[in-house]
């Protein structure tokens, strides 16, 4: 694994690789189950959870449906509160703005609060190219950054690493970029966290520029909100002289009161707590307290593309709680890297194609990275109907690639099937052949399905793509038609 998602293989390839990693699977299964159970407990505490979800979904949906108005209001309130507002059409523009503001202050480093938006635009790499070091200050992001690794989960990005690996990464890398880890570092979580505290405090105390994202942006008051646990967010938002926040345009809510359902839904859905340890809100500049120069970069980067999609628009309601990851049977087994994006799991499987389109093989594979079991919709605090969007995006993938591909084995098979189904004699012949195949496959099958039916393992040839990820039940030895003819629809009593 190298520190970039660019050029990642399509989901099936990446997933097959991940499935072979038993350590990864064990870490992930443990983590997702622990968080899932914690969530279920605190959600059960709230009597009107369903009403709260409806309110949360409503607040976000209303903001999206009138987004231009709210963005203009937000800009005006931010400016009134002393902030400078920038707009960025894409990743490149956003990164250039951050680099420019940083350079204007003559510094070559920034401290960062964990932020999906800045990961999405590849800000760290872009700043590095400009000679600016961007230090991640969230413990998990620090582990990922020092390990030259990629995040694998929205909420706990280093969940794929165990304590021994983390100790090794700290010992090997901390000294290269600042205060080294103590030589007697053990793999106790508290000891590792203390090493991170000492390493990062040095950076917090000297940092002059910080970069953050925002969980919410309130239009009528110009307030940004950051929700976190460790206090690294507060460090970045409070101590430096200059603060630059990169905010996706979909983060807007209309009014201060709209935060209510969201601040109740997010922590319970995310970390399974009644409230996260720290929430910071600020509106522009407060004289004498905190950064005296505040910049906000409003980022599109595909969001208007997603907004135009009638079915997919709802994905922009996402508050990045990661609950859908923790309940997803696919995510649980393959982990976040296989999705090839900073947005993994069910939400990633719809958000990436919505933001970027499906022209690229990797993105086009994502809507298929799901069993459509519906668990993600059940837990989503803002009621995003992920399964429906997945199905709709599958259709988009098929439409887009209709012309540009050699027909797949599946398509050839479907054509053959429609030829056979359209004529009863042909169908009978085909069924006889399949009965024969059933007897052959049944004999050579390597697997038995629950219920005792034989199944074929991996088939050779074009069918390998299908059987590579599932067992193919052996066809019955006698077709329904033959059975009907032989027994007169069962009246002959004849089981065979």
């Amino acid at each position: 694994m190298t520190g970039t998602f660019v050029g990642m293989p399509a989901f099936p390839t990446a997933a097959r690789q991940a499935l072979g990693d038993t350590q990864l699977r064990r870490n992930l299964a443990h983590a997702t189950h622990v968080i899932r159970d914690k969530r279920a407990k605190v959600v059960a505490e709230v009597e009107d959870w369903e009403e709260l979800r409806l309110a949360g979904a409503g607040v976000k949906e209303a903001a999206l449906r009138d987004l231009a108005t709210h963005l203009e209001t937000l800009e005006a309130s931010l400016v009134r509160a002393g902030a400078t507002v920038h707009w960025a059409r894409d990743a490149e523009e956003a990164c250039a703005i951050v680099a420019e503001v940083t350079k204007a202050h003559g510094v070559d480093e920034v401290v960062k609060v964990k932020s999906m938006a800045t990961a999405e635009i590849g800000l760290n790499e872009a700043l590095e190219a400009e000679g600016i070091a961007a230090w991640e200050t969230d413990l998990a992001e620090l582990i990922v950054q020092l390990g030259d690794d990629l995040p694998s989960h929205i909420l706990v990005p280093a969940i794929h690493r165990n304590r021994a690996e983390i100790r090794e990464i700290f010992l090997r890398r901390m000294g290269d970029v600042g205060r080294p880890a103590p030589a007697d570092l053990t793999d106790e979580p508290a000891v590792l966290a203390a090493a991170a505290r000492a390493h990062l405090r040095e950076k917090f105390l000297r940092a002059r520029v910080a970069v953050s994202g925002a969980n919410f942006a309130v239009a009528d008051t110009g307030t940004l909100v950051v929700v976190e646990s460790e206090g690294n967010g507060r460090m970045c938002l409070t101590l430096p002289e200059v603060l630059i926040s990169v905010v996706g345009i979909e983060k807007v809510v209309a009014t201060w009161a709209d935060l209510d359902p969201l601040l109740r839904l997010l922590p319970r859905s995310s970390t399974g707590e009644r409230m996260n340890p720290y929430t910071s809100t600020w509106s522009g500049v407060t004289p004498g307290d905190g950064p005296q120069e505040v910049h906000v970069v409003l980022l599109d980067n595909g969001r208007t593309r997603a907004l135009a999609d009638d079915v997919g628009r709802q994905a922009l309601r996402c508050i990045r709680c990661s609950a859908c990851l923790n309940v997803c049977p696919v995510y649980e087994r393959v982990g976040g890297h296989a999705y090839g994006s900073v947005y993994p799991g069910p939400i990633g499987a719809i958000l990436n194609p919505l933001l970027h389109g499906v022209s690229d093989e990797q993105t086009a594979s994502l809507p298929y990275a799901s069993s459509l079991c519906g668990a993600c919709f059940e837990v989503c605090p803002v009621r995003i109907d992920i399964p429906s969007v997945l199905v709709d995006q599958r259709a988009a993938v098929v439409d887009y690639h209709r012309a540009d591909r050699v027909p797949k084995a599946e398509a050839v098979a479907m054509k053959a099937a429609s030829w056979a189904f359209s004529d009863s004699r042909r169908l009978r012949t085909a069924e006889r052949a399949s009965g024969l195949a059933g007897r052959v496959l049944g004999r050579f099958s390597r697997t038995t399905l629950p219920g005792g039916r034989a199944a074929a393992g991996r088939l050779p040839g074009p069918a390998a793509g299908w059987t590579g990820a599932r067992d193919l039940p052996a066809p019955p030895e006698e077709s329904f038609r033959d059975w009907w003819d032989r027994t007169d629809g069962g009246r002959d009593g004849g089981a065979r």
Binding site: A55, D138, R197, A308
Partner: protein, 194 residues
């Protein structure tokens, strides 16, 4: 065209023909559990914060006891007599790092979630002072405790910077083992008055 105009145009185009009218149901309220203060104390403690309840005339004594020999910084209008405590004078982060403790008041306490909210008026001080020292002693009046998040939002002024604090700083990033105090104060001590 500027990026601003482009983005706003794209937003409008994306939503052409989409009705902005959305039925937003009101957020439900938590049922009245009664015993607000007791619930607040229980929930704060649940976060592994330390809680002491005392009468109004005992506050100074309690806080002095909690601080012990710790070097403490205090906001300008704390209104408590704490010998040895230094009033914040716009210290730099590095200067604050030399202090062990900070004592502040709060703006609101939220029972349902066990949260204290600071709005950083002069009795609570700048944001930095409650962040850098390792022990935060927060004095909350029983009358400041509200039932739930919406009550707090209604009381708070968004024009001020706000810090919502629920327990000490914590991380679960290493194998989901919870560790307190990564960057913020490792100990939160809530003194509830009344």
């Amino acid at each position: 065209m500027s990026a601003r105009d482009d983005i706003l145009r794209d937003v409008r185009q994306a939503l052409a023909g989409v009705s902005p009218a959305v039925d937003v149901p009101p957020a439900p309220r938590a049922p009245d559990r009664g015993g607000l203060v007791a619930l607040f104390l229980e929930r704060v403690e649940d976060y592994r914060a330390v809680v002491t309840r005392c009468a109004a005339d005992e506050v100074e004594q309690v806080v002095r006891h909690v601080l012990g020999p710790a070097r403490a910084v205090v906001p300008p209008a704390l209104g408590l007599d704490l010998p040895g405590a230094i009033v914040d004078d716009g210290f730099t982060a590095t200067e604050l790092d030399a202090y062990d403790a900070v004592v502040t008041r709060a703006a609101v306490g939220i029972a349902e979630t066990g949260t204290v909210v600071l709005d950083h008026r002069p009795d609570q001080g700048r944001r930095a002072i409650t962040l850098v020292p390792d022990l935060h002693v927060c004095v909350v009046d029983a009358g400041q405790v509200v039932a739930d998040v919406p009550d707090a939002i209604a009381l708070l002024d968004p024009a001020r910077p706000l810090t919502w604090i629920s327990g000490p700083s914590a991380t679960s990033d290493i194998e989901l083992d919870r560790v307190e105090g990564v960057h913020g104060p490792r100990t939160l001590h809530v003194v509830l008055v009344g």
